[in-house]
């Protein structure tokens, strides 16, 4: 904590003090630091250090509750002011909120609050009976706690027309009852959870919950509490949690006055995938389940897709070759986001700030509703300087932290439930019912049908090579020959026309399983010899084997073959496929030292019908 520079600016009367103070405030995490910054702000105000920009009308906020609201309100005042929402506060007396609300004690209503922050006392959120009382009795009492709070809040809103910010209850963090705590609703642990649930699910539109339970969970239950602070000065929580608590309330107040962001603009190279697509090529970029970095980028794309699903518009702004950038989305099989997910796609060599301005014009949206995300500090800086209305997020060096950066940015939070949201909820519900149904289906065929499986079969490709190598080198159980190959050898197979090799991707309505089966075979006259056949055990009993055999026969016939030859080579781990070829209709021809050779005469064999819809076949244009 070194704020000597701020102090110097303040003592010199330099207006640069204000932007520096705002930046330090955004970065400050500790209670005493935030406190010091607040003290500096008040001193600057007392010295009439001129504030740049327009002065805003103050928002009237009343604070009341079963706790000392001091020094909480100092932090809150500071954070609101630094976020550009200066507030004027009315502060209730310690634990006098019921009479303040019911009788207007202290002049609450004369203050004409536009928002009221209410922190009810957790000491009144306790089951008063016995731990072993009937569940219904305990539940009824929790219901009464919720009802009386809701009634209080309704009265407060009716009399003041103010928006209400209500804190819920922190959970205990001591072992106390041990495992028994979750076997009764009479424990503080379960009772408060129940009350918190009911408060959130029943909140009317004017009620905004400040989720203290979540905030405490986020830093840890033990760190969130400080009994000494309660005994000495009736604090609602520990000094460690107080800054987060004040930030949350400031955020809720800010969101009453400011619309959420609408557009998320993304860089490409080292943001949505690892590497530079124009240099490294489609097969050189890191995305997908073949490496930890690839997985991290894929998870980031999935998170971004979830933002789109809740209504955020997505756009791309990248210094890139347009054709190569677009091809990555069109051709790379592991890409989660697709071109049609973006409302605007700018991959060129113009400054990003210019691209963003153009985008705003085209979409007819204000630049201040844009958020720009990049891994490159230089690009972030250009946007900050030349399109300062845009909010920027610098991702940093580690893609495993990208999701957290966005998930904690607080810019895309839904505000209230709309009719559309409700309809969506209804849809989710029927989905859940379908799922429950299929879980009860005992008929295997009906179950497979209900999965709505789709598969894409592909010849080996450069892009798939890393995943192919990974499967070939790690599959043990469903692997007929366990022949390992390097990525270079896979490239070799692709160049050899006598080799017929394909991979199998499966998805169903619960998700994408990705690339899960691999076959390598060679044409030798009228015989197609199966060198490698392996499959991920995740998709056993899904009829994948049947479709793989269908494809093998199709390819063999196209090559003019009449017979398939397969071999089983035993290892310590592949016992499960010892009789696999026999089960598939092959005939055992020879056996030596455990190796078993099988043949299938194809002339009389029809493809097996399955519940998998094949969307693409090998060696055919997709």
């Amino acid at each position: 904590m070194q704020h000597g520079e701020l102090k110097t600016l303040l003592l010199k009367g330099d207006p640069e003090f204000w932007p520096r103070l705002a930046a330090s405030t955004r970065a400050a995490r500790e209670f005493d630091e935030l406190f010091l910054l607040s003290a500096l702000r008040k001193k600057a105000q007392a010295r009439h250090l001129p504030v740049p920009g327009v002065s805003r009308e103050k928002f009237r906020v009343a604070l009341l509750g079963g706790y000392s609201l001091y020094p909480f309100h100092e932090l809150l005042a500071h954070l609101c002011e630094m976020a550009g929402h200066p507030c004027e506060f009315w502060r209730g007396e310690f634990d006098n909120y019921i009479s303040e609300i019911m009788d207007g004690t202290g002049g609450l209503y004369e203050f004409r609050p536009q928002a009221v922050v209410l922190m009810p006392s957790e000491h009144r959120c306790k089951y008063t009976g016995h731990l072993a009382d009937a569940r219904e009795t305990q539940r009824a009492e929790a219901g009464r706690v919720v009802d009386s709070l809701m009634e209080l809040v309704r009265g407060l809103h009716d009399k003041s027309q103010a928006e209400i910010i209500l804190t819920n209850f922190m959970l205990p963090a001591r072992h106390d009852l041990g495992a028994y705590r979750s076997r009764t609703l009479g424990a503080d642990w379960t009772f408060r959870k129940w009350v918190n649930f009911e408060l959130g699910l029943n909140a009317p539109p004017y009620l905004h919950l400040c989720d203290l339970e979540f905030l405490a969970h986020r830093i840890g239950g033990l760190a969130a509490r400080d009994d000494r602070a309660w005994f000495e000065s009736k604090q609602p929580c520990s000094p460690a949690l107080l800054p987060d608590f004040a930030r949350e309330v400031a955020h809720l107040i800010g969101s009453l006055r400011q619309a959420p962001k609408k557009v998320l603009v993304l860089d490409l190279d080292n943001t949505l995938w690892g590497g530079v697509v124009a240099d490294d090529g489609l097969e050189g970029i890191e995305i997908g389940d073949t490496s930890p970095r690839g997985e991290a980028f894929k998870a980031f794309q999935k998170y971004i897709r979830s933002l789109k699903q809740r209504g955020t518009l997505l756009a791309v702004c990248s210094k890139n070759d347009h054709a190569k950038a677009a091809a990555a989305f069109e051709k790379h099989p592991e890409m989660v986001l697709r071109l049609e997910d973006f409302v605007s796609f700018k991959a060129n060599w113009e400054p990003k700030s210019d691209n963003l301005r153009q985008m705003a014009t085209e979409l007819n949206l204000g630049l201040d509703s844009f958020v720009f995300v990049d891994d490159n500090p230089a690009e972030i800086e250009i946007v900050r300087q030349f399109a300062p209305e845009v909010t920027t997020i610098l991702l940093g060096p580690d893609p495993s932290e990208y999701v957290a950066r966005l998930a904690d940015c607080r810019l895309f939070e839904p505000r209230s439930l709309t009719a559309e949201d409700a309809a969506r909820t209804e849809q989710y519900r029927s989905d859940a019912q379908r799922q429950a149904l299929s879980a009860t289906v005992t008929d295997m065929a009906a179950y497979l049908e209900s999965l709505a499986m789709e598969a894409a079969i592909s010849e080996f490709t450069l892009v798939d090579a890393p995943r192919l190598a990974q499967l070939i080198n790690k599959s043990n159980q469903f692997n007929l020959t366990t022949r390992r190959r390097t990525e270079a050898e896979i490239h070799g197979l692709m160049a050899d026309e006598s080799q017929l090799c394909f991979s199998f991707r499966l998805k169903d309505r619960f998700g994408d399983h990705g690339l899960i089966s691999v076959v390598i075979s060679q044409k030798a006259g009228p015989v197609m010899k199966i060198d490698t056949w392996l499959m991920s055990c995740r998709v056993l009993k899904r009829q994948v084997e049947d479709e793989v055999l269908n494809e093998l026969m199709r390819l063999a016939r196209l090559q003019g073959c009449t017979r398939l030859e397969g071999v089983y080579l035993p290892t310590a781990k592949n016992e499960m496929v010892r009789d696999f070829y026999a089960r598939m209709g092959f005939v055992l021809k020879s056996e030596s030292a455990g190796a078993r050779v099988f043949e299938l005469e194809m002339d009389a064999i029809q493809p097996t019908l399955t519940k998998i819809k094949i969307t693409r076949r090998a060696y055919e244009p997709s």
Partner: protein, 81 residues
């Protein structure tokens, strides 16, 4: 550490927190320093507990009447560790 050394270390914390320089003496108390209000006091305690790695017992800080007694309390609690 003796009282003088504790006060010297306290001085650095005060220098960080207070805008106007405060020169600590054992006899100095909060009412002698206009900036030392209850808000500053809370901040000060958090900073002191962190810097000295001590934890005061409930209610005991408010029993101290000046910087000297406060320093003695810090010493007493640090010796327990």
């Amino acid at each position: 550490m003796n009282q003088a050394e504790a006060i010297a270390k306290l001085q650095t914390i005060f220098d960080d927190l207070f805008l106007e320089p405060v020169s600590l003496t054992p006899a100095l108390s909060a009412k002698d320093v206009p900036e030392w209000d209850s808000l500053m006091h809370i901040s000060l305690l958090v900073a002191v507990e962190k810097a000295f790695a001590v934890r005061f017992r409930v209610g005991e800080v408010e029993q101290t009447r000046n910087v000297g007694e406060f320093a003695d309390l810090i010493l007493k609690r640090s010796q327990e560790r």
